[in-house]
């Protein structure tokens, strides 16, 4: 399955519109699909992802929940083991900290603990990281990707483009595994080309966004755009940077990154997450394991700063991975 089949007709829309299309198409296709979450229905979704679906599919398919994250994730698990395909929204993924027991101990493990007798075909989705709007502060703008990616039994994916957002969400809903679908908050309102009609993007394939010979920039979710920006800047300095979108974090597909590093011998990970014990560390560890002999310099990381997200505009901006940091670090690695 190609990410952007060249033949496909596309339309420009925001990521939330792309996600909304995916939900609408899947709700129409399969009556076992239901949506649960806070303000997803009558209110139309705080981040617009479920806009119009309550009106179209009714309150038995698009279900408004009280502020009971642990338990409505559990409701999703219960519906899933009975053959439904619940899509459970976290208004922000930060709130999934309330539901970690259901996520780790139920959603992820029931298939295994039951000796395969039960399946849990559900999707947990919502925005993470410092966006779409600024000023989210410490408890609302975290990027907790690593917490999910560490848990066996889950599939964990995050799209970097509007097109992938649609195709991956549709694939996630059809997956018989439980899927954590992380929507990059900073991209929620950003526009891009999206394929029209039916297509799926696989949940186990990283994607090469740009070829390059001097250094491999590796991102996932919102940081892929930073990588692409940096690659354009680096061009001015005569450096050709490849950009890999990791996209599928669990299971992690290293193939495109390895192929690129085999050519460039140099790599830099870019991420919004906190660096220590963040997703980037696993990517580095896998490059260590499978690309060591290809590497001409240590793999670097530019990550979110290791602080709770501060409020003041200048500090908030500084806490995110900075374009000039990425460019400088890439040059340093390329020169090493």
């Amino acid at each position: 399955m190609a990410t952007t089949a060249p033949a496909m007709k596309t339309k420009k829309m925001s990521m939330h519109e792309a996600l909304n299309q995916a939900l609408r198409e899947e709700l129409s296709r399969d009556e076992k699909v239901v949506i649960l979450g806070e303000e997803v229905g009558l209110y139309n979704g705080v981040h617009y992802v479920t806009r119009g679906l309550y009106q179209e599919f009714g309150k038995d398919r698009v279900i408004d929940t009280p502020i009971s994250e642990e338990s409505f994730v559990g409701v999703g698990v219960g519906m899933a083991i009975m053959g439904f395909r619940p899509v459970v929204e976290m208004m922000r993924m930060d709130f999934s900290l309330r539901a970690m027991d259901q996520i780790y101990n139920h959603m992820a493990k029931i298939h295994y603990m039951s000796g395969g007798h039960l399946k849990v075909p559900m999707v947990l989705r919502g925005p993470e990281g410092p966006g779409p709007n600024p000023g989210l502060t410490a408890q609302h703008g975290q990027q907790l990707t690593a917490l999910f990616a560490h848990c066996p039994g889950l599939r964990v994916v995050t799209p970097a483009t509007q097109h992938d957002a649609k195709g991956m969400l549709k694939a996630a809903i059809r997956s018989d595994d439980p899927v954590v679908f992380l929507e990059p908050g900073p991209l929620n309102n950003k526009q891009g080309e999206v394929g029209e009609g039916e297509y799926l993007v696989p949940l186990d394939r990283a994607d090469t966004k740009r070829e390059g010979g001097d250094i491999t920039l590796i991102g996932y979710g919102a940081s892929v755009a930073l990588c692409l920006q940096a690659a354009r800047e680096l061009e001015h300095d005569g450096l050709s940077a490849a950009v890999i979108d990791m996209r599928c974090l669990r299971p992690l597909d290293m193939q495109p990154a390895l192929a690129s590093v085999a050519k460039t011998g140099r790599a830099l990970i870019v991420e919004y997450a906190w660096q220590s014990y963040g997703p980037g560390a696993e990517i580095v560890a896998r490059l260590m394991q499978d690309a060591f002999w290809d590497l001409d310099a240590p793999v670097g990381r530019v990550s979110g700063k290791e602080t709770p997200l501060p409020y003041a505009a200048n500090l908030e901006e500084l806490s995110k991975p900075q374009l000039d940091e990425i460019v400088a670090k890439a040059k340093e690695i390329a020169a090493a």
């Binding site: 038995d60 279900i63 929940t65 009280p66 009971s68 642990e70 338990s71 409505f72 994730v73 559990g74 409701v75 999703g76 698990v77 219960g78 519906m79 899933a80 083991i81 009975m82 053959g83 439904f84 619940p86 027991d101 259901q102 101990n105 139920h106 029931i110 298939h111 295994y112 603990m113 039951s114 000796g115 395969g116 007798h117 039960l118 399946k119 066996p152 039994g153 599939r155 997956s175 018989d176 595994d177 299971p251």
Partner: protein, 336 residues
Amino acid sequence: MSTTSESIPTPAAARPGRSSAQWKRMLRMMITIREFEHLGEQEFRNGLIRGYYHSYAGQEAVGVGMLEALDPSHDYIVDHYRDHGHCLAMGIDAEQVFAELFGRRTGVSKGKGGSMHMYSPDKHFLGGDGIVGGGISVAAGVGMALKRMPGKGLCVCFFGDGALDTGTFHESLNLASLWDLPVVFVCINNQYSMGTSLQRHSSLSQLVDRASGYGMPTEQIDGQDVGAVYSASERIFAAVRERQRPCFIEALTYRYQGHGIHDKPLNYRTTEEEEPWRRRDPIRLLSEKLIEERQMTPAQIEKMRQEVTAELEAKAERARQAPAPEARELFDDVMI
């Protein structure tokens, strides 16, 4: 929205009287559970069972009386970790339960789950659960599913008095009431949350009162008297089915053994406290009734016990002989 003052009506559908065969079946099941736990604890001491062992001895009337009233083709149960007795009462073969406890691939969860994680969707048994209160929201989800399926099925959810201290209990009851779910929440009040007596963990001594804030009918039942449990369950299940509304039951009972196999209950309670409960032993109560009513003689009951034991020993032996999972099965069923 409903008020807290509802009581559970007797719907027309409640079946009257019970046959002698039914009484004998219930007696036999209670004896089966008692002897099963006895054998199981022995095997734990022999080293064949590892980890946890939570005995249901003393509480048999709750599960047996209640599950006898189920509609086996449409109803489901979601259980907590003290689940061997409920497995048997749901018709799961004791050999499969032993095999699970012995870590055999013929076990009900293929040896992957162990004592607390039995699953048999065929028998509508949707799991034990090791997390106190962990199944309560899952049961609400099963109720959501049943409400959308034909057959007016309901979900019975078992948990202990300790589970009332978990937030998810309260969240789930609110959801179930708000959404009119056919779920019967059954608190097996055995007076202790591990070594902590009701007085030391609950702000109110009547647990029905702690479930009074959700606009659903509540009822306290005598969990020692299997006939009383059965009658109440028949009536309550019919009402839940008819009204498509949840209810809460507090079954008063007592566990004979420690919380788990290593626990010595006399460290925190007295034989004087235990004594009146043992006088009202559920097997004894029913035996006395059947003898008094001349439905069975003491000799017949003793013969039943011996038959049951012999049968269980044979099943345990077959389970012992069954193979352990193969090494390659370690990675089976992590994902689909």
